[in-house]
Amino acid sequence: MSEKFEPRIVGFCCKYCAYAAADLAGSMRLSYPSNIKIIQVPCTGRIDVIHVLRALEEGADGVMIAGCLEGECHFLEGNLKARSRIDRIKHLLKKIGMDPDRVEMFNLSSAMGPRFAEIASQMTEQIQALGPTPIPRSCTPASETAA
């Protein structure tokens, strides 16, 4: 019997909300899938198209971006900028023949520990349904080896 596919998901989490919410989920002893490898960012507005593409390029099965509730960004509108960038990334993924559902953005506050556990499960299930990334895991970016 084949092993259950355990996705590798990169989670870009805003320091002021999702990262703190993940911390809270831990303190609350909530159980959630461990598939998401969290990278703390000062604000989701810091995340550029290239960060998400690079994660996929290096073999992530999915990329999750979690920022503050809309209207509650510590930097006023970083999360709104992130939202529009994520929309553009999804559009680009579609054009290059990758499933746009491999990238998803969520909004939550630092007090929402249970919500973090919920989105972690939701994202993991979403990527499990899509299956492993078509990008070979062992690959180093070919672009780096050329010149």
Partner: protein, 222 residues
């Protein structure tokens, strides 16, 4: 500044498909400022194309380089030592850069990664508007600093034409009537007498109509 627009990625994929090793060549000047072909766009495009081909199990190599300018030979020389590693170059420079690179490296196919659109100004983030058509004989002194060549659809030199209504061009409500702008500006400057003077027939031989142009500056030629 020269304004360019990214080509749709599907079109780029079709262009590069026959080649296995492709150098994506950005330019640090105009196309960087209008966010169509600078270092950042090179990175994103290389990553997107890598994903596209790896997902299909095809091994293609994407090299990356961004030159200070592609419209100067000295900067193009910077890739001479590595261009033999590639089957094609996808240049994200304007049409000038693509052609100059193609002239410099005749053995390598040069493909354009952007569409060069116009000479324009940056109105706001992500919005550029045409301001100059490089007609080769500037009339802005007489027209209050507003160009009837680039901003009037008909390029009329003694406007406005009959299509102007309420300050807008007959093209549509998004296009200002250049001559309305000129009159308003001259009025504000107290120089409406400039408007009263009938402009002589414009010599279009300095424009593209006179064929490809060459600019010779003997004073700076050594």
């Amino acid at each position: 500044m020269i304004i360019a627009r990214k080509k749709p990625v599907e079109e780029i994929i079709t262009e590069i498909d026959p080649y296995d090793r492709i150098l994506i060549l950005g330019c640090n000047e105009c196309v960087t400022v209008c966010e169509a072909g600078g270092k950042k766009e090179v990175e994103i495009l290389a990553s997107a194309l890598t994903l596209h081909y790896q997902a299909r199990g095809k091994a293609k190599t994407f090299g990356k380089a961004t030159l200070e300018r592609q419209c100067d030979r000295e900067y193009l020389e910077e890739i001479r030592g590595r261009i033999h590693n590639y089957d094609a170059v996808l240049s994200l420079a304007c049409g000038v850069g693509v052609q100059f690179a193609a002239e410099t490296y005749t053995a390598t196919p040069l493909l354009p990664g952007v569409d060069t659109v116009c000479l324009g100004a940056n109105e706001e983030r992500g919005l550029w508007t045409e301001r100059c058509q490089a007609c080769g004989s500037c009339v802005l002194a007489r027209t209050g600093g507003i160009c009837p060549v680039s901003r009037c659809a008909k390029r009329v030199m003694n406007g406005p034409c009959g299509g102007s209504a309420n300050g807008k061009c007959e093209l549509g409500p998004d296009t200002d009537c250049a001559w309305q702008l000129i009159i308003d500006r001259l009025k504000a400057l107290g120089r409406l007498e400039d408007y009263e003077q009938v402009a002589p027939i414009k010599d279009w031989s300095t424009d593209r109509a006179g064929g490809p142009r060459t600019i010779t500056r003997e004073d700076i030629q050594l």
